[in-house]
């Protein structure tokens, strides 16, 4: 087991009280696994990714711990986390491709980044060049400014930089979102290639686009309003989901081959609850077609079949 997250609960502190963005998340990642993390905006998926590597105010750790390989990550201590960041655990934040220093050449910027982590740039340069080949970028990009690269190229460059030290865990937050379909496919496939070549051990891919996850992920975890709803193998989640939210979410996806006059897809009525004072129990309750009185309690996240976890009273009721 490469990553183990136990009861992780993270709130955002605001003047009006705590925003309960991540509640009691428990899951694991095995070696070499790519786990997709999907959900609507505001469901806490980015909070989860970020709290694993950079937990700073207004984020607040309420409880829980994170174990990466054998080490308990000091996620609540920004200073101590510095030893792990980038080397053991690395993140590609959302819009990272626009966060490259515009007035530094890319090679120079990488060099400075590595120096801040006390890594010798010269020694790693051959590997850097090999990685550039891997993502089909010419080596000249190191002498270019970020503005000279297209969106897809920048995204691939960011992937190379963040995985340069072979982190045990890579968190990729919405890396395909702002790209065209062709670049999207290329970037997603390169991520798999990185894993295959051991540039990173395992990866969490955060996205709102489930169809991308179907292409590249081994397992998918679905979140709703700060709670984990369901986790299972990609095939299980897509073909035989059990949680009502997952079922509805997947049925709303338009696909090539479905037209409005032949098969009218329906959205999920209602809106996600505000997380400032979320309703007690299952947070999907108000929009759920099968909710019953038991749903006023928080459903436990239970393994109903091997590697298939679900938090729903309706599905787990009998043995809970």
């Amino acid at each position: 087991m490469s990553l183990r997250v136990e009861n992780l609960t993270v709130y955002y502190q605001t003047l009006r009280g705590d925003v309960r963005a991540l509640e009691d998340a428990t899951f694991g990642l095995s070696d070499g696994e790519i786990m997709g993390l999907a959900g609507e905006s505001g469901c806490g998926k980015t909070t989860l990714g970020q709290s694993l590597i950079y937990l700073v105010p207004p984020m607040k750790l309420v409880k829980g711990r994170v174990i990466l390989d054998e080490d308990v990550l000091p996620i609540n201590d920004t200073g101590k986390m510095d030893d792990f960041r980038y080397k053991k655990i690395s993140i590609i934040p959302q819009y990272a491709m626009n966060a490259m220093n515009p007035i530094r050449k890319i090679g120079k910027m990488t060099e400075e980044l590595l120096r801040s982590k006390k890594v010798d740039f010269k020694a790693i340069l051959p590997e850097l060049k090999r990685r550039l080949d891997l993502v089909k970028l010419p080596q000249e990009v190191l002498d270019m400014y970020p503005i000279e690269l297209s969106g897809g190229m920048k995204q691939r460059m960011v992937m190379v930089i963040s995985t340069l030290l072979n982190p045990a865990l890579l968190i990729a937050d919405e890396i395909t979102s702002a790209l065209d379909v062709a670049s999207q496919k290329a970037v997603a496939e390169m991520l798999v290639e990185f894993r295959n070549q051991d540039c990173c051990n395992s990866a969490i891919v955060i996205t709102h686009d489930i169809s991308i996850l179907y292409q590249i992920a081994d397992n998918i975890m679905i979140m709703y309003a700060g709670q984990i709803a369901e986790k299972g193998t990609t095939k299980t989640i897509i073909n035989t989901p059990r949680h009502p939210y997952t079922k509805m979410l997947i049925s709303t996806l338009p696909e090539v081959g479905i037209r409005h006059d032949e098969k009218r897809l329906a959205g999920i009525p209602g809106n996600p609850p505000l997380l400032l004072n979320p309703p007690a129990g299952c947070r999907f309750r108000d929009r759920c077609p099968v909710a019953f009185e038991k749903c006023l309690d928080v459903p436990p996240f239970i393994e109903i079949k091997p590697r298939h976890f679900i938090a729903c009273w309706k599905e787990t009721g009998a043995n809970a």
């Binding site: 609507e40 905006s41 089909k136 969106g151 897809g152 190229m153 065209d180 379909v181 062709a182 670049s183 999207q184 496919k185 290329a186 997603a188 496939e189 709102h208 686009d209 489930i210 169809s211 991308i212 179907y214 292409q215 897509i238 509805m248 979410l249 997947i250 709303t252 996806l253 338009p254 696909e255 090539v256 081959g257 479905i258 037209r259 409005h260 006059d261 009218r264 897809l265 329906a266 959205g267 999920i268 809106n271």
Partner: protein, 313 residues
């Protein structure tokens, strides 16, 4: 109803504007009453430029763009206002379409001041309520609120309701659902389908092929400002002919089958010469040769209502 006849948009680029960039290159199509036309393409394909030209936000460099047989670029004053009564646009980011200082329903009172000063208060409120209900919103829940108090889907439907107040006949929908969540985007898409059934024509600009397929009757695939393939949506999706369309179709992530292994060439320069096939640099077609660059490929009808611009067919 709306007709584009050999429309081009040329930007001057480079030092002193010495070079020309053909953002839209010699495009012709028309949209009829109650028809949904998708413009599909990657970023830089000129799809938004076409939308902006229709809304007269930017000028047309060459060719004519006409609405109900009147050249749009000649409209001035009252006639232009009348044009905006018929043709309206909704854009990608609903949050930046509003002024955050004012309440969101200010967009309705502006419409009233500009277009309906004679309608009295009570009647106007009725009208607003009716149009909000027709886009699936409960007026009591959404009126009198600031933009940040409403969700993206609600704001986007507000903008569509605003267009409906004017009895719009033609809607330019530029990536209107790409910023919405999966659970709400299908509602907005269904709303467009309902409006189409009531006779509204829609130009649906998107980079998402599955959304285009869901809603549109006709499609236009654009690459670097040129049409590569056009015609009936079902025919194009069922049997794409152009190598670019084929590559796009193969790259769409689907839930029923995995990606096939295929080399995608991501390079390809923006051609500054208006002559020759714009897709040449990235084309994976086996038979491609120099002759592709000698002339512009013309649209050939490969089957009824299905046109392809590739000289190697």
């Amino acid at each position: 109803m709306l007709r584009l006849d050999h429309v081009s948009k040329i930007y001057k680029v480079g030092t002193f504007g010495g070079k020309e960039l053909h953002a839209v290159n010699d495009i012709s199509f028309d949209v009829n009453v109650g028809e949904v036309m998708s413009l599909i393409g990657e970023s830089g394909s000129g799809k938004s430029t076409i939308g902006k030209m229709i809304l007269r936000l930017i000028s047309v460099s060459a060719g004519t763009l006409s609405f109900d047989s009147i050249d749009v670029s000649t409209l001035k004053g009252g006639a232009l206002k009348e044009y905006y009564r018929n043709v309206q646009g909704v854009f990608q980011d609903p949050f930046s379409s509003y002024n955050p200082i004012f309440k969101a329903d200010r967009i309705f009172s502006i419409i009233r001041e500009e277009f309906f000063p004679e309608v009295d208060g009570e009647e106007w409120t009725q009208k607003v309520h009716k149009s909000l209900e027709s886009v699936g919103l409960n007026p009591e829940h959404v009126l009198n609120k600031f933009p940040h108090q409403l969700s993206g889907g609600q704001l986007q439907r507000f903008l569509i309701a605003r267009a409906l107040l004017l009895d719009t006949k033609f809607l330019v929908a530029d990536e209107i659902i790409s910023m919405l969540d999966a659970s709400t985007r299908i509602d907005v898409l269904n709303l467009l389908a309902d409006l189409k059934a009531r006779g509204l024509s829609i130009l649906f600009i998107t980079h998402d092929l599955s959304l285009g397929y869901y809603i549109s009757d006709k499609s236009l695939i654009l690459y670097r400002g040129c049409i590569t393939e056009s015609g009936s949506t079902q025919k194009i999706y069922k049997k794409p002919y152009h190598p670019y369309t084929k590559m796009l179709m193969a790259s769409v992530p689907r839930l029923d089958r995995k990606w096939e292994k295929m080399e995608i060439d991501l390079k390809g320069e923006h051609s500054t010469s208006p002559v020759g096939c714009s897709y040449f640099a990235r084309c994976q077609l086996v038979g491609k040769d120099e002759s592709c660059m000698e002339s512009n490929p013309t649209l050939i009808e490969v089957e009824p209502d299905h046109f392809v611009a590739c000289s190697k067919l």
